[in-house]
């Protein structure tokens, strides 16, 4: 009985805190100074049409490095807590046409994922979305054939190599004294082409590969036999 009264008091307190925000809310009509600077800098200095991509990779690049670290810590934690015991039971094999169809579909899904993270600066998308789509291609393979073994050494090599190269690209910016993770180290091209906007496609491709292999590891640890 006392529990329910306390919970009701806590929710009432939250509602009283929220009420001023809702009643004083006015819709905005123009952008702030910082957003204008980011949009103009993305068009003139970086030459990348997707402003959200240039904010994530260049202007707020250090936050993206922190997020990649958090995802890596979560993968390590899940892999440590749910250790698999090798029992070696083999269930019934999946029917043949299911395996063939899902392999074909999984290959097409992974090509879609690679397309999304290489064109991250031209259309909506980017490294995180492309990486998640690659991981869902592996999920389809895992769901259709329960006895499939993923080669762990290739996954580990891809993940560590892309992480090291991502930090290495940042350090190159430090060596050339233009700032950590500045994307002017490669030539800026024309506005709207695939090979343009400096090092942004390269950085986003590395992030996409890293996120894809980490999420594949989490899914295989939690779901595989």
């Amino acid at each position: 009985m006392i529990n329910k009264v306390l919970v009701a008091l806590a929710l009432l307190g939250l509602i009283i805190l929220i009420m001023p925000i809702i009643s004083n809310f006015q819709e905005r009509t123009e952008l702030s100074e910082l957003s204008k600077k980011y949009i103009e800098g993305s068009i003139n200095d970086l030459k990348s049409p997707n402003v959200v991509t240039s904010v994530i990779v260049t202007y707020r690049g250090l936050d993206t490095l922190g997020e990649v670290t958090v995802l890596f810590l979560a993968t390590v934690g899940v892999g440590f807590l749910l250790q698999k015991r090798k029992k070696g039971k083999s269930k019934k094999d999946a029917p043949e046409n299911l395996k063939t169809t899902s392999s074909f579909l999984a290959a097409m899904i992974m090509i879609l994922g690679i397309y999304i993270f290489t064109h991250g600066h031209l259309s909506p998308g980017g490294g995180f979305q492309g990486g998640v789509i690659i991981a869902s291609g592996f999920l389809l393979l895992l769901l259709s054939d329960i006895n499939m073994k993923i080669n762990h050494s290739i996954l580990q090599a891809v993940e560590s190599l892309s992480g090291v190269l991502y930090v290495g690209l940042g350090v190159i910016g430090l060596i050339l004294t233009i700032g950590f993770l500045n994307s002017n180290i490669l030539p800026l091209g024309e506005f709207g082409q695939l090979f343009s906007a400096g090092a942004i496609p390269l950085i986003y491709s590395l992030i996409g590969l890293k996120v894809g292999s980490e999420l594949t590891n989490i899914i295989e640890t939690m779901g595989g036999e």
Partner: protein, 117 residues
């Protein structure tokens, strides 16, 4: 706009209510995920300008007046990071619940009282 702000706050309060009153551990984690989604809706709806379009400069926006015809891009960039971190936290919490179930065979949090003095 105002309606999405109210929707976001309602989802946040529903998630907090689920975390405070449910006894099953999986329902507590589901409440956390609902509250997370509510907060993301609140942050993105603070960056919306009326009758403007998405911040991607393709052939339909003139470059010279780009700053007066797009939505604010900064809250979108913050929420993108937050969604991925929410997934990582939920995966780690679920592996903790599986380990605790292996030890004591019970999903109710009333049975885990060793830390009480």
């Amino acid at each position: 706009m105002l309606y999405t702000l109210i929707l976001g706050f309602a989802l946040f309060l529903a998630g907090i209510f689920a975390m405070l009153t449910r006894k099953n551990m999986m329902k507590i984690i589901l409440g956390f995920s609902i509250a997370d989604t509510g907060i993301h809706i609140i942050i993105v709806s603070l960056g919306y300008l009326k009758d403007k379009t998405a911040p991607i400069i393709d052939s339909t926006i003139k470059i010279s007046e780009a700053t007066s015809s797009v939505v604010d891009p900064i809250p979108s960039a913050l929420v993108l990071t937050a969604i991925v971190i929410g997934l990582a936290t939920t995966a780690l919490m679920l592996s903790f619940v599986v380990m605790m179930y292996k030890k004591k065979k019970s999903l109710s949090i009333n049975d885990y009282q060793e830390l009480k003095c």
